[in-house]
Symmetry: C2
Subunit: 237 residues, 2 copies
């Protein structure tokens, strides 16, 4: 039988590269921001191209990763999910919160392609909700007849989150155009990220102040005015 004190040593098989420079403004679920293109770089020996043969037959993959920016604290049985406004608490096992035992995350991402670069597999995915540099523990194919349960009930998270409108000050609009011209900023992806309203969930409409997010290598300054997210500035980091 299992010894509760037993330890399993896990090693990263690779790392994901994303436009999210920090936890703040990372989407709260995968595939909410569809326009984000990311790459998973596999480490030796897992980068052997043989290990991904057949993977491209699947349109989606399960990605298991470590929430390595979360401290390994004492176990807290309840968390406050953003979905419930940040005030109501639920059990950690009823949530996808990163503040959980073993700190393992699970995201289903769209697989774009598997590329072999200098003899190593690089996996292109869409819709990641992980901080840049997050360690990856495993990749598994998403098998629809096993994994897609359309009749499942979704508890307190039954609906997609509400989106806000994203608008720009004239100055930010100009910075956006310049960043896009340099191939550094993707306006569509940026709008999808900010439409989620990345502020802590308990912040209401009376909270008009500057927020800062590290996205696509830029410091993004924004404010939230009711149903609008106003981008004030975009400065290269």
């Amino acid at each position: 039988m299992v010894d509760p004190q037993q330890t399993f040593n896990m090693h990263p098989i690779g790392v994901i590269h994303t436009p999210y420079g920090e936890k703040f403004a990372v989407p709260r679920q995968p595939r909410l921001v569809e326009s984000i293109h990311c790459t998973i770089e596999l480490f030796a020996p897992y980068c052997d191209p043989q290990a991904c043969i057949g993977l491209e037959g699947f349109s989606h993959i399960h990605v298991l990763f470590v929430f390595d920016q979360i401290p390994e604290d004492k176990f807290r049985p309840m968390i406050r999910p953003p979905r419930l406004g940040g005030n109501q608490r639920v059990g950690v096992f009823a949530s996808r919160s990163p503040f959980r035992p073993n700190r393992i995350g699970l995201s289903i991402l769209e697989l774009e392609k598997v590329e072999v670069v200098k003899g190593k597999s690089v996996i292109h995915v869409k819709g990641a909700d992980m901080v840049d540099g997050t360690p990856i523990l495993d990749l598994k194919p998403y098998i629809p007849f096993v994994d897609a349960i359309s009749e499942a009930r979704g508890g307190f998270a039954s609906e997609k989150p509400h989106l806000k409108e994203v608008v720009y000050t004239p100055e930010a609009q100009q910075q956006l155009a310049q960043g896009e011209a340099k191939g550094e900023l993707d306006p569509q992806a940026l709008a999808e990220i900010l439409a989620q309203d990345p502020r802590p969930a308990y912040k209401g409409d009376a909270d008009v102040k500057d927020y800062f997010a590290q996205l696509m290598g830029y410091k993004v300054t924004f404010q939230v005015h009711g149903e609008q997210v106003l981008v004030v500035a975009l400065q290269k980091l």
Copy 2:
């Protein structure tokens, strides 16, 4: 950035109790055998009933576990999935094979109920595909709008596996009735397990010999004759 040599120490949060006494005859995917009722026993401190508050709002859960009966061998990039007849090889990341780095398994199971026994949470699930005593690493709610992707493409595993007919010799039929009367054997679940034809995938129709499986605390002896699985004997272990 991630150090490929980094180690993450994971601990079991609990253990699953299933009718599968060994790897042989465990279904190859979760929920293929729907009639199997299993329990996940959480260890302290994770068994705190608060940690499962809200979980019963979800009909299904992701269960992350360790394939602890698989040796931690040298990495092998390709495996032979049963689905492809056991001869053709695919990359390990294109499969759900237990022979994988970090040995983490993922199954989506139907949640029946969460019970509190002597102050500890016990989670009742259906359709497990794990050996009895498998260590559990995490439980996460299955969120349909995030996790149910009906349009996903399923590569080489697009269809449910073919099922065989399960029949009994008169002797086995009698043993089944006795085991059922004692509340030890569940004929429906047993038939669902054996209908999967648990033999190694490369075994063809010419392979008529006795196979043995440890199921529900019984040694089950069976043979496969073409499209029929013939149960020969059911002996209590």
